[in-house]
Amino acid sequence: MPVNDRSGIQVTARYFAVFREQAGTTTESLTTQSTTAAELFAEVSGRHGLEDSIALCKVAINDELAGWDQTLSEGDVVLFFPPVAGG
């Protein structure tokens, strides 16, 4: 169940490729008031200066691709993927 009282929830954020370089870290634990993946991205993006709009990026929660409107739960591991470029 989502938790959204004043104390917030504890999640782990992971950054890949250009996001990792911009954030200067691969992984961080944070306590957040954000309730969705999109809100959390706005929060960390502002702090780390991640350059891309979510329209071009993807997010995964606990190793499953997720929608940006997915609600976060205590303990979630949230993976932020900049625009992909395989092949």
Binding site: L56, L65, P82, V84, A85
Partner: protein
């Protein structure tokens, strides 16, 4: 091995892609057509001279999403078998970064299925590449614009 596992095979690897071994997995007495695609590291992009490419993947999702793409292709294009592999790590000009192969009874399905797989792999898998330029600088490629950033 269950039936689906015999029909599709996707892998992320940090070693040379063994195209011959992958192709043998596609053999079938019912197959009249085989189509394959390889992405090679080329020496230029958007007007700049490229020296080498670095590929990074997030393995767990790259593999599950890759298998999903292959399963979609099997079903939509009436393929007999499909396989694909994507390299990660530091690649040089001419190296094979991605390989896709399919077998089908007829060639139209084989071409369409192979094209579908590479298009979807490129746009859906969490894989990124950083170009290293002749001048010594580098940049991550944005698949939407094709341009370094």
């Amino acid at each position: 091995m269950d039936e689906r596992a015999d029909m599709l095979d996707f892998e992320i690897t940090d070693r040379d892609i063994d195209a011959d071994a992958l192709q043998r997995r596609l053999e079938s007495d019912r197959a009249g057509a085989y189509a394959a695609f390889q992405g090679w590291v080329r020496n230029h992009n958007e007007g700049r001279d490229v020296d080498s490419l670095e590929y990074e993947a997030y393995g767990p999702i790259a593999v599950s999403e890759g298998e999903r793409v292959l399963a979609e292709a099997l079903q939509r294009f009436n393929l007999l078998k499909v396989a694909a592999a994507h390299r990660v790590g530091h690649l040089q000009i001419g190296d094979c970064a991605v390989w896709v192969g399919v077998s089908a009874a007829h060639r139209g399905d084989a071409f369409d299925g192979c094209r579908y797989v590479i298009d979807e792999l490129k746009s859906r898998l969490p894989i990124w590449k950083k170009e290293h330029y002749a001048g010594g600088d580098s940049g991550w490629i944005n698949c939407v614009t094709g341009q370094p950033r």
